[in-house]
Symmetry: C2
Subunit: 286 residues, 2 copies
Amino acid sequence: MNTFIIGTGLIGGSFAKDLKRLRSDVKIFGIDTNDRHLEEARALKIIDQKSSYDELHQAHMVIVSVPVDVMVEELPKILDAVNDDAVVFDGGSTKSLICKTLIDHPKRRNFLACHPIAGTEFSGPSAAIEGLFVDKTNIICEVEKTAFKLQERALELFQQMGMRIRYMNPEAHDKHIAYVSHLSHISSFMLGKTVIEKEKNERDIFDMAGSGFESTVRLAKSSPAMWAPIFEQNRDNVVETLREYIHNLQEFKQLLEKGDYEGIFKEMDETNKIKEILKGIPLNKK
Amino acid sequence: MNTFIIGTGLIGGSFAKDLKRLRSDVKIFGIDTNDRHLEEARALKIIDQKSSYDELHQAHMVIVSVPVDVMVEELPKILDAVNDDAVVFDGGSTKSLICKTLIDHPKRRNFLACHPIAGTEFSGPSAAIEGLFVDKTNIICEVEKTAFKLQERALELFQQMGMRIRYMNPEAHDKHIAYVSHLSHISSFMLGKTVIEKEKNERDIFDMAGSGFESTVRLAKSSPAMWAPIFEQNRDNVVETLREYIHNLQEFKQLLEKGDYEGIFKEMDETNKIKEILKGIPLNKK
């Protein structure tokens, strides 16, 4: 099975590693505008050979994991280049604009819109992890628009990789993912900013930071090139989550200013039910 | 060495576990207003026997880790009850009010004001972890107010436990810890609240939550009984961190609303330097 990985970073690279482990018949072609990444992916044996769009007609499967602004530019060209029997799927963190962009493409049936909810704060081929997708959710949008035989080919792989599949429309995906992913990244970036600004002249202070700080600010290590386009494409939903988050922070601040410590206790006590919710979230194996 | 653990939870229990491992001569007495915790601590062999303030005169070392509002109530009574040769230290997340409360106590020299920056989001004796304090920072305030011989006794233990020691005045401690710990907890609680409120009728949505969400919202599992008094005692500093955090979030939201994606990229890019800072933070061994 000729598989093309377009974007040989954390997500593309992790797909490639699982493919090599699970499929004896796989040959992996890598395409990346970053030649250093491509060389690194080959050195790490993530890809078998470097390739280009000229060879895409040989593909049985194409996995596209590039920043979402590049996605909407490149997916139409990728679909133009593939054979009728190829399945192309993406790993983008937004789904509405990507689906809208491809709605009238003559090869829309070759495309499966995916969002595997997996990753780390790191990027590039060296960040790829074997087994990254075990027990992780893969959200598939507009599944009915993909040719049945091609759905099957991708789903068989997802199943072998240990993913849970959820079907959703692109608008619902973008609305909810703003709450459970995009907002977390902004809260983390702004927390990092607040502390860096305050403590810039007091480097020793970071000796005071513990694992709790590390946990809340970890996502502020994420790649701006990946995240700025996500916030752009999902702007309206993200602005709405931010409005609500800021409102809740202001209310908490007002309770503090008023000295209403019972109110503060209650806020925290009610939010403790997050325990039950978090139980269901699979973490990366260390 | 007769050691009294007052508050047999995560921190007190973790001290007890290390003491048992490191000191063959130790006998551990447990005191806790929660009798269920005390029984549990004995069943888990964290303490050797249940005790009360009546027996405190036998103590060589007393470790107090209770919520900080209880701390200011109990520490004077504990100091009243101990012998002149006992060292009493605390593990509270605030230091100013505790130090102020004890400033004129006739046994002030028996007290060492500590804040070991270690813990998890769990609580109670079953949350105690052997080796929790390895490579963690222990902040000691007003060290000059403690009898030299008693400082030595505590510091010898901290060294054996693998802690790094930092000396700081109580006001500086409270100001900086608001940024690198207290603010993280509020950001996490309010993030949890925002998502729970929005998604209360859509339980399936949490299938969409990944390890990034888990990381930023993990601290929202923390105990309100422990954290409400911390926010109360450190109110002014915490309000200030919240003001700055909310301001940064509002600015980010405005950049989004204006469609200034270069500005958004820049904000994230500049905050990426948190990578260097986080490298120095020791995490809990899994």
